[in-house]
């Protein structure tokens, strides 16, 4: 199933195909009534909704800013007298960063924060590179002597945090895959087992990520007592995996237990052995459902990851958001919102990747 990656498949992948196709028609002059309707639906309306979103955000942020400012000035008036209040008003109006009230940041501020984060990242990367170059010679010697090399221990940048989060979510996702798919298959194959563990699945499925984290913490704590390994990361990805695996478990069990009777009859007539029956008939026929489950698992994993990183104090976007919130610097709120968009976009990309894989393995639908 080789397929060259063309612009078309990429735009289709991110769901923009209709949009671009319609725009192309506008420029090539191929327009009829149907196209006008399409332009309205696929170009004008989405753009309008984006504009509307930013307008509402901008106006809302301004209004909230105003309310906060009035509140601060009134407070200054009561506590420090009219002179101080007037000074504060002037300061806020001048746009000085040091005296801005702490409210919902506007789109402009968030964009600014995003640029700051990127600049910060370049700075840290340069610093890291310099450090590695500087220590290269020393490290070689240390390794030769059987000592541990010196590693960079500076603050991670925002981009580093993103990659840490993605690594954690993949670790959790793989854990979920390796637990849920085999168990799902076994449960799916045996009605007895299915009914005997059903209660367990039903009870654990709705448990909140916070509780999973605490449970994993209780257990992992004991195991990592005497080791110096990074227990925060371990706890984090195990909790993510356990919390998100249920969709895959349930879907796999369902797929395996509801294989079309015709396929089972084929397996019987060909006299496939039990293993072959599972691997050549049951699994292929339940692959589409298994992948639907995995897609849900990945999006749940990404969603709960942020909360669990925050609780586990494990590096990543969750910790970044939490630290910015605790930090309370004047651009912290903007950085949090910038992180929110990054989190959303990455979640969207992950879902699209899974959707593409899911489409590849589904044999029922014509695409």
């Amino acid at each position: 199933m080789k397929q060259s990656i063309t612009l078309g498949s990429v735009t289709k992948f991110i769901g923009l195909a209709g949009f671009l196709e319609t725009i192309k028609n506008v420029f090539t002059g191929k327009l009829d009534k149907e196209d006008l309707k399409n332009i309205f639906r696929k170009v004008i309306m989405p753009l309008a909704s984006v504009l509307l979103f930013f307008a509402v955000w901008y106006l809302g942020a301004n209004k909230l800013h105003e309310i906060e400012a009035d509140h601060l000035i009134n407070k200054a008036l009561v506590e420090q007298g009219p002179a101080e209040a007037e000074k504060l008003r002037a300061c806020i109006a001048s746009g000085d960063k040091s005296c801005q009230p702490n409210a919902l940041p506007s789109p402009v501020q968030v964009w600014g924060a995003y640029q700051t984060l990127l600049a910060d990242h370049y700075l840290i990367s340069a610093d890291k590179k310099a450090f590695i170059e500087k220590t290269a010679a020393i490290n070689e010697k240390r390794i030769a002597n059987g000592e541990k090399p010196i590693t960079y221990t500076g603050r991670p940048s925002f981009v580093d945090q993103i990659f840490t989060s993605i690594i954690t979510v993949f670790a959790g996702f793989l854990l979920a895959l390796f637990i849920a798919v085999p168990i799902g298959i076994v449960i799916g194959l045996s009605p007895t087992l299915r009914s005997s563990v059903n209660w367990l699945i039903q009870i654990f499925k709705p448990v909140s990520p916070v509780v999973w984290f605490l449970l994993v913490f209780m257990i992992v704590k004991t195991f990592t007592k005497n080791s110096s390994s990074d227990s925060a990361f371990i706890i984090c990805f195990i909790s993510v995996g356990l919390c998100s695996m249920w969709a895959t478990l349930v879907n796999t069990a369902m797929g395996v237990s509801s294989v079309d009777k015709d396929y089972i009859n084929v397996a019987k007539v060909l006299k496939l052995g039990p293993m072959q029956k599972v691997f050549k008939v049951i699994l292929p026929s339940s692959l589409p459902l298994i992948f639907t489950g995995l897609r849900i698992t990945l999006s749940v994993a990404w969603m709960v990851l942020i909360a669990i990183e925050l609780l586990a104090q494990s590096p990543g976007l969750g910790l970044f958001v939490w630290e910015e919130f605790q930090n309370g610097a004047n651009d912290s709120n903007s950085k949090i919102i910038a992180a929110m968009f990054v989190i959303g976009l990455i979640g969207f990309m992950l879902d699209r990747i899974m959707l593409t894989i899911q489409k590849m393995v589904s044999f029922n639908k014509n695409d």
């Binding site: 084929v266 060909l270 026929s285 044999f363």
Partner: protein
């Protein structure tokens, strides 16, 4: 000892209040090398009967003996062409056939197996589509894959459940001849389920009608005393053919009418008229 023997077979579906007896007191013997056709109305239990013989179903009462042994489960000795094709949708045409051939001849080398696959796919004229998946095929093409898969396993007994129903007259004729050729080559035994009396007469030694269900039983058998190889075009002028054909069709029409009158008795509509269309 007969090759295949069905003794007082009863088959019911469901339990309790929903129980329906589909087949009732079925007795049938097929000798080795015979070609037997069963004709019947839709829903009368033909597929059920086939599945009892190939071992996918167990009779509620009675016994199915194959070469003197009770049938327990399926066997490679009895090949099946399923009515609903039952192809595995994630495999290509070639892979579907290959999987069956590999199970039937586990000791053969890969290239030998592939040669068999190519031979049978070619026999059903699907070589150009050998790398396509079932969803890309028409109904008739799928049916042909199903025929190729069953025959490629070279079973001793070929059990066919309306194997050619979705094909046009020409393809149908060709495949009928292929099936007859394969059946005749090593003197295999064949059971054909069909709803086409002409097809039955052209191919079979005996035609047995299955009476409409529920509680379907087998009707009297009609022997086809026409010499093989049979010629389709000459068949129409054969007095024997005409006589047998008329007898079978008359019998089927009689039981059809019987069923109609029964249905009328059982499901007479109450004499009511709607009071009003407003609700």
């Amino acid at each position: 000892m007969a090759y295949l023997e069905l003794n007082n077979i009863y088959k019911t579906y469901g339990q309790g209040d929903n129980i329906t007896e589909v087949l009732s007191n079925i007795n049938l013997t097929i000798e080795e090398g015979e070609f037997v056709a069963i004709v019947g109305f839709t829903g009368s239990g033909k597929t059920t009967l086939v599945n009892l013989i190939n071992g996918l179903l167990e009779p509620t009462k009675g016994e199915v003996l194959f070469k003197g042994e009770p049938v327990i489960g399926t066997s490679h000795e009895r090949g099946v062409i399923f009515q609903n094709y039952s192809l595995l949708p994630w495999l290509t045409v070639g892979q579907n056939v290959y999987m069956a051939v590999k199970e039937a001849f586990p000791k053969k080398s890969k290239s030998d197996l592939q040669a068999i696959v190519a031979e049978y796919v070619d026999m059903v004229n699907l070589t150009p589509a050998i790398n396509k998946r079932p969803k890309e095929l028409s109904g008739g093409m799928r049916q042909r894959v199903s025929v190729a898969r069953a025959l490629a396993m070279k079973p001793e007994m070929i059990i066919m459940d309306e194997p050619l129903g979705a094909l046009d007259a020409l393809t149908r004729g060709n495949l009928q001849d292929e099936i007859l050729r394969i059946w005749g080559k090593d003197k295999r035994t064949a059971l054909l389920i069909t709803n086409d009396v002409d097809e039955g007469i052209y191919m079979a030694d005996r035609i047995i009608p299955l009476r409409p269900g529920p509680r379907a039983t087998l009707g009297p058998e009609f022997k086809i005393d026409i010499e093989r190889p049979r010629d389709k075009t000459a068949l129409n002028d054969n007095p024997n053919f005409k006589k047998t054909r008329n007898a079978i069709i008359e019998y089927l029409m009689d039981i059809g009418n019987e069923r109609k009158s029964q249905i009328q008795k059982e499901y007479a509509l109450p004499d009511v008229a709607p009071k009003s269309f407003v609700w």
